[in-house]
């Protein structure tokens, strides 16, 4: 367990980045920790970039993480992971990446090139000391709902970062924040996220 944690969640509008940061942030507050979260949600509904800087623990001030001081980056989408790499610390940083690309519209309709998949994976693997590329979208889909990607990623982050938050507090926060009736499925998604790291 660490004293404090600085992570960036990065993804695309609709992937649940904000929900993930709410779940982690609320659990941390329940544990009596100080929390700062900076969200850039721009035009999230419209497929734009969504990021969340999450800071938990003591001695934190700014909601924005200074460059080079993120303990880890969770990429809900591989290109979005790479876009935020400059925030990673040089020593001991980690990366967790859902390996499933979402092409920008301009790439889909053939106006702009999306990075080559292999080159992207290579860059991701060399970006941090510990890198976990998981099939987050696949896990969520197998659990019956692609929207649960955000909870799978929360599980993976919980397993890698070992934040000073009890598992019970995490689970309660998930229960409180997911749509009614989907609580059990989402707790399963959380567990599958943890397992994806443990079995890595």
């Amino acid at each position: 367990m660490r004293e404090n944690l600085n992570v960036i969640l990065a993804g695309v509008g609709g992937q649940g980045v904000i929900l993930s940061s709410t779940i982690i942030g609320e659990a941390a507050v329940e544990e009596g920790l100080s929390v700062r979260i900076a969200e850039s949600r721009g035009l999230a509904q419209r497929g734009g970039i969504v990021t969340s800087h999450i800071r938990i623990g003591w001695g934190i001030h700014s909601p924005l993480i200074p460059k080079g001081m993120a303990d880890g980056i969770v990429g809900f989408e591989p290109m979005e992971f790479l876009r935020h790499c400059e925030y990673l610390r040089g020593d001991g940083g980690f990366g967790i990446v859902n390996g499933n690309p979402i092409l920008p519209v301009t790439s889909r309709i053939g106006l702009e090139k999306y990075p080559d998949y292999e080159a992207m994976m290579e860059a991701i693997r060399s970006s941090a000391e510990r890198v976990y590329i998981i099939d987050g979208s696949g896990i969520a889909e197998r659990l019956g709902n692609p929207n649960m990607l955000s909870i799978v990623m929360v599980g993976a982050l919980y397993a890698v970062a070992e934040p000073p938050i009890s598992r019970r507090a995490m689970e309660e926060s998930i229960r409180r924040n997911v749509p009614k009736g989907t609580e059990e499925a989402n707790l399963k998604a959380f567990e599958e996220g943890i397992r994806a790291i443990e079995g890595y």
Binding site: S34, G47, P63, P66, C85, E86, L88, V105, R108, I109
Partner: protein
């Protein structure tokens, strides 16, 4: 969830809240009774939070037709003795300025707090403007919280201050406070049970010129009292050791300064300022005494910096003052801890860049990810139809745009409009292009919420001055851009009650427009015909392109357990002409290795691509 915390009666409990949510909570704690707003990022969630609990908390909340009206509603509530709040983004403040600047002359009764969120970067606005100028112009106090916790705390203080000075009070946020979250300690829920009562006093409330001269005198006295009150404002303080180099930090920048000093491993005297206007002169002078250099860190314009220089000069203090006007901090864009770190390092001559440069540079070019109109968005069909109509007429065409989700239509392949300035400018500028003698067809595009906000006066102007323009109203029945707030075309109000639904076409008719057609946005052939006839009509003409916002429509289907019936490409008929991509560009359609396909999950079944496909290769399938 945040809404649960808004009315929780649990002093001292810490909860996670956004800056906007914390402002709402603080206002509720202070006993606000009337809250108004017109949506605008980054301020929208202040009113939507209050509205979500309004009935429970005994508050009246409304989405007004525009900011000016919102201010006037809150202002009259305040004159009636109630505590009232009005919230807007910086651009909304331009709209209220007329009423706001005079409200300082009448003064207020119940506390009146205007919460404004500025967008320094700007992340989601047409410009970055510093609302503190308005507070100086109006001689109205302005407070600036440094984090969500302080945003909660500052609201009851703002209401109290407003009542003690009888002046409105501005609470200035920035996008980074509005949309950042932190642990917020809940305060006491005050019970403010007041009966509304308006005591007539025309010398005060009817500001004709002779009265205005008297009230100006009064305002100057109140402003002097405000300056005195700021000297002891509890959220201003001096901290840190003594030294030659000190830092003055406004609002949120306090956190960047603390962060930067931590990274650099140094200490310095800090003056944390949460009162932006009037500036506490004695406190600043005290802080400056003994300093050789002082950095002022503030968001957008060097307002505090200029005041600090003036104070140093009048007190005869030999301190060099740095900030945005001296180039130590850039004059544009949002600040962050790295910029503040750079400014401090430069002044004290540190070359240590902090840990930033330790990060490995990733050598891979990432592509842009521009936001877009959603799959199935009716605006795409409207733009496509305007372009097709102009193509048929073949005399060029100028499209004056407006503010709304339809702004995403600027990107290829739609390249939907040529100008976008501010709410309502589409119709006003269309009049101007016509009167300037432009011979091309002139089309204004405007959403229904923007039309209600600012489109009606310029439409009347077009009729009155006979401007031969075509106005296409993109009516999706929600204020979508800012988070799907209801407006008069929706049929519900901020508190979820049913209200009379207004039809824009009836308003246009009453304005004297003689050509009006209402078409479903998804019937593209009819829409193109209607726009073509409107352009050919001699005189102002209106086409209402109406279809509900795709996000709202699919959400409603899903709630009923239904799914949209998607379309698919029949590969035996598709000739890969790419018209669906190069002229329409729905994000559900993509091309890979020369093969066009439709993603059945994102397709909403609007069927427009099927209508425009020359080979009839797009067909509806079972979901």
């Amino acid at each position: 969830m945040e809404t649960d915390y808004l009315t929780l009666d649990s002093i001292g409990k810490k909860v996670l809240m956004t800056g906007n949510g914390a402002v709402a909570r603080g206002a509720i704690e202070a006993g606000v009774k009337v809250a108004t707003s017109y949506p605008g990022t980054p301020a929208s969630e202040i009113l939507s939070s209050i509205a979500a609990v309004a009935k429970k908390a005994g508050i009246y909340a409304e989405w007004s037709i525009n900011e000016k009206v919102a201010f006037e509603v809150a202002f009259a509530a305040s004159l009636s003795g109630l505590r009232a709040l009005m919230a807007c983004k910086h651009l909304g403040f331009n709209w209220i300025s007329d009423a706001f600047l005079v409200s300082a002359y009448t003064g207020v009764n119940g506390g009146l707090v205007v919460v404004v969120s500025d967008d320094p970067h700007p992340h989601s606005s047409q410009n970055a403007e510093d609302t503190r100028y308005y507070s100086k112009m109006g001689k109205v106090p302005c407070l600036e919280p440094s984090d969500p916790g302080e945003a909660r705390k500052i609201m009851p203080m703002a209401f109290d201050l407003s009542e003690s000075l009888q002046l409105p009070v501005v609470v200035r946020l920035t996008s980074r406070i509005s949309h950042s979250r932190g642990d917020v300690e809940l305060g006491e829920m005050r019970k403010e049970d007041r009966d509304p009562k308006f005591e007539k006093d025309p010398k005060r409330y009817a500001v004709i010129a002779p009265h205005a001269r008297e009230r100006h005198l009064w305002l100057n006295k109140q402003y002097a009292k405000a300056a005195e009150a700021m000297e002891g404002f509890p959220l201003n303080w001096i901290e840190g050791p003594r030294g030659d180099f000190g830092i003055i930090a406004n609002g949120l920048n306090y956190s960047y300064v603390k962060e930067a000093l931590g990274i650099l491993g140094i200490e310095a005297p800090i003056l944390k300022l949460s009162s932006a206007n009037p500036i506490p002169r004695r406190l600043v002078a005290n802080f400056l005494k003994g300093l050789k250099e002082c950095l002022v860190v503030e968001e957008i314009e060097p307002i505090t910096e200029e005041s600090v220089k003036a104070i140093a000069q009048s007190e005869g203090l030999p301190v060099k003052v740095y900030g945005r006007s001296t180039g130590h901090i850039p004059l544009q864009w949002e600040l962050n801890p790295d910029i503040v770190n750079g400014a401090i390092s430069k002044i004290i001559g540190l070359s240590n860049p902090g840990p930033g440069l330790l990060a490995k540079a990733v050598q891979l070019e990432v592509s842009r990810r521009t936001p877009f109109l959603c799959a199935g968005c009716p605006h795409r069909a409207s733009y496509y139809s305007i372009k097709q109509a102009l193509r048929r007429i073949n005399r060029g065409g100028i499209i004056a745009g407006d503010r709304g989700c339809y702004n995403q239509g600027i990107y290829p392949p739609l390249n939907g409009y040529d100008t976008c300035i501010c709410m309502g400018a589409s119709i006003g500028m269309a009049c101007g292009f016509y009167k300037a003698g432009i011979k091309e067809p002139i089309v204004a595009v405007i959403g229904e919420s923007t039309f209600f906000h600012a489109g009606i006066p310029p439409l009347i102007n077009a009729v009155h001055n006979n401007a031969n323009i075509t106005v296409v109203i993109f009516d999706n029945s929600w204020t979508s851009m800012t988070g799907f707030q209801p407006n008069p075309a929706t049929g519900i109000n901020a508190m979820g009650e049913e209200t009379k639904r207004l039809n824009v076409e009836e308003i246009c008719k009453a304005c004297g427009v003689e050509f009006i057609k209402v078409i479903d946005s998804f019937k593209v052939r009819e829409l193109i015909d209607a726009i073509e006839s409107a352009i050919n009509f001699p005189g102002p003409a209106v086409v209402v392109s109406r279809h509900e916002c795709a996000v709202r429509e699919t959400a409603r289907l899903r709630r009923r357990g239904e799914r949209p019936r998607p379309y698919a490409v029949d590969p035996t008929r598709c000739t890969a002409c790419k018209i669906c991509l190069s002229q329409f560009g729905c994000p559900a359609i993509s091309i890979e290795n020369g093969k066009v396909s439709i993603d059945k999950y994102s397709c909403t079944g609007c069927g427009v691509c099927a209508q425009i496909c020359p080979s009839k290769a797009i067909v509806q399938v079972e979901g």
